[in-house]
Symmetry: D2
Subunit: 337 residues, 4 copies
């Protein structure tokens, strides 16, 4: 069911969860002319959005009562128990034909399960994987969306308002055929049945980890080139800030992550404010699980994940065991450096 | 010695090696108003450039005789013996104050060595690492340049003509200070002494391998999600073309390599024209050597290189050995699938 | 509850599943003086064991009726549905105090779940991870056993019969203290509560993959040293058979897997009978999952698993994508070699 | 030239370099009935060996004067300049037919070069890769030896004295044919021309790194299973000491390195005396270089090397860059934990 025609109709939806992501998505929807019923368990957040034009709601029950059918509930909460329990409650409050959207970072198998439960009650379940971070309010959100096709069509005006749109990014050669789904060029796609949206977003994040680690290792090698351990005529004291900048301009490895790198290095080439203890969220882990279920080699994506684990500990027990084995066969005593 | 002022003076240089890269660099220099003395050991290539306005030369001797001092020789030949022997010959033909530019993909330690030999004869040696591939003629070349600062200043008009210039790429926050070297924002930098240009370009390519492999693994996982080995309700038949397209638009992983991916997939989602036997050039290998010399972990960059090696063989002896061990302890007989 | 005293009492247990592993375990138990009630859904296997002295049973019901309480059921079936459904049936047939042993390769979380169900019925659940492969009948089985301590003590005569015993393997320095659990030196241990036996065996297999891949890569490098692509005076045509043999004798990397390698290479240095398409069972995959749950870096164990995945396909889609990107930026056309 | 017959003739050789390895090799040769001329630039070491029966020498010149032709010089010094300069001096002192043995850990390409220089002077060059560490004096040394075949035959009585001999290690099936070189079963082999001995030893060490890291990661996963971050019923507090011990006895992953692991854990399960900052010598690095020269994937061996690099730093610049990028797109502020 290719989507072609723009519909600029005004819609009304509930935004449940008004953290940074939820609040900004609500704002961008309002900018696009849509009405928001705003709810969060933290009342000041509701008040804030109300001050920006949203209709406040004090409970999920009030959310449900405020909307007319078919109701659209956009849940924007941390994956896991918060999302799970909220959707469970909404399933009790919803009527056949209503739409529940999980816009968070849920594990896609949870979507598959919940979509089945929803279908049994005549509800439509839609999962939206969203990329764009804190920049999305202004740049627009890149969205990967799972659910049934007809439901997606009914939601197009919302996604259109949220997406970046065609903008200034050049058309890919061989695209633009009238028979193809035009959504992709606007910055959102229908990925397939429920769960597929979060699945594609999950792999997006897996790739993101890999890209980031590739840059990290490369800059490590650049920085290490000034090491006093190298022969004197093979040392270079490189200007990492300028290197990141020049690579943005015409090189094969230009990217948005490189833009961010250039920004960080322009501010402080030593990156001294950063701890280097790097968090990971579920997606990197789930991507490797998916690779293993499919028997697909994922050397780079897994290595990128492991580098984050390693960044958060000083010494592993395994490292001590290596020292112990070396002592065992060679009598090597390894001293802290 | 920060570079600030634009000089639009016309220069005259020899381009030695008129393969795809050399010819296009010569063309872009001529477009920029510079004069080219063109030489290649393959006369038709010389004739072709002469037809586009270059002064032909039939030998390196003729090249040297045609230029006036200080002569500028740009060598654009395959790394290794072709570059080495040509530079050796030029060192014999050159006079003090002349400049030899190695614009190819030489190993940076060869640059260091050759720059010392040149210095003993009063010659200036400059190494230019160039990124941009076949797109450089129109987009401009991103250049990382090693050599002494004064020589670089004398060559600025050339690099300015070759580089992409500031163009439409947004300024990085915190940049644009009048005391910083403005070259980076034009798309070329002075990286440091001779060898450092090729070193930075080498790491650029190492990163490139890592980025490419991250995308490759991610798309592999997307494609594998339709496998009949998965539970039926966990299979998705994903549209990779649309996914690549949507990620170009507002996602965290947008990049030029992703643009190329989207182009390839838009043409043929199955990529059937490609063998999947992936070549590697020296830079990936040298990047890992550099990492090892510095004791920097390079899990991702090395894995990306190894994936290319693996892509070029059907079965490794190591795989057979795994089968043999499994047979040894478990009696497993592994059959071709 | 340290185990000290040997009890040579004769026991009677049911062996359910008479495949290669189950039949051999039954045989080794009978050699140790124990009585076996033998059952398999494949009657000829039952007949075979009956011919060797076991009491045949035609159904699980008959198994239950033949044993006296507390009954001991040793289930030795493929992990997943076969084991799951059999244990479910046995839980229905068993009486409080009976013991169900899962000796297969179950996922440890299934053990945890099943042990809870058993406990609710007053049954004892024991999981036995077994290493030793086809050699166990004669060498004895190395066993990692989860379950409650008292149940383990009641089963010691069985495990003692199955384990290799102290044998000729030298005592580890600092061991042999009378207060320590002596089981480890006999070749079996109580690892902790239900599930822990299979967990430890799972990690054992994860390590096994890593060890195997380390040898595989090393021998690949030895073999590749004769490549015509190398400079002639840096090529060696190495005798891999002799190398494997000599490493068995006094080298740091001697191991049982190396013994198997030497055996395979002594038979055929080319390993021509082996396809090199290497299977993997669940344990390698589960080990990486466990590592991710614990945020432990597992570079080597995951790479070893991925090498097996890669060994089973000719070309990955990811490899084609790399070719496509290279074509995109460099115009490289990669041909099959 | 298969070696069959044992010759128990007494030989006389110079041992140059009396560090732990050199002194023990000298001692084992003396135990085997051979005579040692002992030299070290550190006189007390010479005196020590003289006290054990060696003939002392105060300089390389005196070493050369003390031996009769054909002289045999065994150089046992750190790889690099110490070995290089000593061999250079010996080449000046030696006469045609003399033999120079490099028993250290030289890079095999240095052997190839030096062997050519020796050949030009009529000298024989032999490189001996030695495994066995501090245990070799009593267990015997496993040796991989490069050089010309006739020279090797002349040295057999020495290698026979140093090697472990057939001992108690079982014969590999299909071995023992009278036409095969019997040396392998005694614990030393002729690997091929000069350089091949150190090449095979280098790969041995590369494998060693991989094996060690496989155990390290496995034990890390075992240890991490008690983490409070896991669900309570999925935590196990495992006895690593007993696990290492039981794996020595009948498991697929038994090995000498596991014996050492069991020893270390039996002494202190926490391994508290070890820093976990793990050194690496040249061989791991050179093995990866060799793999890259041959285009052989070496995922595991390289990862094992990188883990050692990583163990020696607290935080990498690359980790900080990851934090910086995360801050850039998500506003994440990563705090030290």
């Amino acid at each position: 069911m290719p989507y072609r025609k723009l519909r600029h109709e005004q819609m009304r939806i509930a935004m449940i969860g008004l953290g940074r992501m939820g609040a900004n998505i609500a704002r961008r929807l309002m900018r696009g002319g849509h009405e928001i019923v705003a709810y969060d368990r933290n009342p000041p957040l509701v008040a804030m959005l109300a001050g920006e034009g949203a209709t406040p709601a004090a409970s999920l029950e009030e959310v449900a009562a405020t909307l007319e059918g078919p109701r659209i509930f956009w849940v924007m909460l941390p994956a896991g128990p918060p999302t799970e329990s909220t959707i469970e409650t909404l399933m009790g409050l919803a009527s056949p034909g209503d739409i529940i959207i999980d816009g968070g970072n849920s594990f896609y198998k949870d979507d598959i399960r919940r979509a089945k439960l929803c279908a049994m009650k005549g509800l439509h379940y839609v999962d939206v994987g969203t990329s764009g971070g804190v920049w999305g309010l202004d740049r627009g959100y890149c969205m990967m969306i799972g659910g049934d096709a007809a439901t997606l069509v009914s939601l197009d005006p919302l996604f259109e308002a949220l997406a970046p749109g065609f903008g200034t990014i050049a058309r890919t050669p061989d695209r633009g055929d009238p028979n193809e789904d035009a959504r992709a060029e606007k910055g959102y796609i229908h990925t397939g049945p429920a769960g597929s949206g979060h699945f594609v977003k999950m792999v997006h994040n897996g790739i993101e980890y890999g890209l980031m680690q590739a840059y990290a290792e490369g800059f490590d090698i650049l920085k290490g080139k000034s090491s006093a351990k190298l022969p004197e005529d093979e040392r270079f004291d490189l200007n990492l800030t300028d290197i990141a900048e020049v690579w943005r301009r015409g090189s094969v490895i230009s990217s948005w992550l490189l833009d961010l790198t250039a920004t960080a290095l322009a501010k402080d080439q030593m990156l001294e404010q950063f701890s280097g203890q790097v968090a990971d969220s579920g997606e990197g882990h789930w991507t490797i699980e998916a690779a293993m279920e499919e028997a697909v080699p994922a050397y780079v994506l897994s290595a990128a994940l492991f580098a984050r684990y390693r960044s958060r500990v000083d010494t592993t027990f395994g490292d001590k065991l290596l020292s112990a084995m070396r002592f065992g066969f060679g009598g090597h005593v390894e001293m802290p450096q």
